[in-house]
């Protein structure tokens, strides 16, 4: 079946511009996560959705970053006034919801964002 997809695969923008990154989770997965992987680092958590609501946004670095998931499926990560330090691979993951036990997170291929 289809896995997690992310578009675009690459995005080059200029400092100060606005960007949107899209994630299509696996059908039926209620949990959706955004991570950011900077060069030489592991993925770092940004925000987690359960359904339509952001259950945990403690990883968003500042108020330039915002994410939505209006219908509980596709999610968009929005970055305003981009800075060169925002350059990274942005990873999306989804998982089915269970009320106990670990739920495996399935990752998309990522969007590589380059801010010039």
């Amino acid at each position: 079946g289809a896995g997690v997809s992310q578009t675009p695969s690459n995005k080059v923008t200029e400092k100060g511009k606005y960007v949107e990154l899209r994630c299509d989770p696996i059908s039926g997965h209620t949990a959706l996560y955004w991570y950011r992987q900077s060069l030489g680092q592991g993925p770092e958590f940004l925000i987690y959705f359960q359904g339509t609501g952001a259950a945990d946004d403690s990883g968003l670095p500042n108020d330039r970053f915002f994410a939505v998931r209006p219908e509980g499926s596709v999610s968009t990560l929005k970055i305003q006034r981009t800075e060169r330090g925002d350059s990274a691979v942005y990873l999306c993951a989804s998982s089915p919801f269970r009320d106990r036990g670990y739920n495996e997170q399935f990752f998309g291929p990522g969007t590589r964002l380059t801010v010039l």
């Binding site: 996560y33 993925p43 945990d56 998982s95 009320d99 670990y102």
Partner: protein, 113 residues
């Protein structure tokens, strides 16, 4: 402050030999540990996991060992194959469920034929 540490950025192993990748953690609330494998231009894919109530989990050529008292885990791959060449991330989670993973920085494994 890194809660999950992978102190070896890279490892080179000959085909057929054992690969051992190490991971340390500092948060005693972590109760589930995972290894992910990542090829270039792809997202991380789940490889193997272990619950904190166990000290070993084996799946084919892959075995993960957990030493809770030392807050240390390791991934053993034997025999190593060229297709195993990738970046391996150790990750941990607390209060298993729908919470985010905490990743280490990764170890790049190169298996030489």
């Amino acid at each position: 402050d890194q809660q999950v540490k992978q102190n070896s950025p890279s490892l080179s192993v000959q085909e057929g030999r054992i690969s051992i990748l190490n991971c340390d953690y500092t948060n005693s609330m972590f109760d589930y540990f995972l290894w992910y494998k990542k090829y270039p231009a792809e997202g991380p894919t789940f490889l193997i996991s272990i619950s904190s109530i166990k000290d070993k989990n084996e799946d084919g050529r892959f075995t993960v060992f957990l030493n809770k008292s030392a807050k240390h885990l390791s991934l053993h791959i034997v025999p190593s194959q060229p297709g195993d060449s990738a970046v391996y991330f150790c990750a941990a989670i607390d209060n298993s469920g729908n919470t985010p993973l905490v990743f280490g920085k990764g170890t790049r494994l190169s298996v030489i034929a």
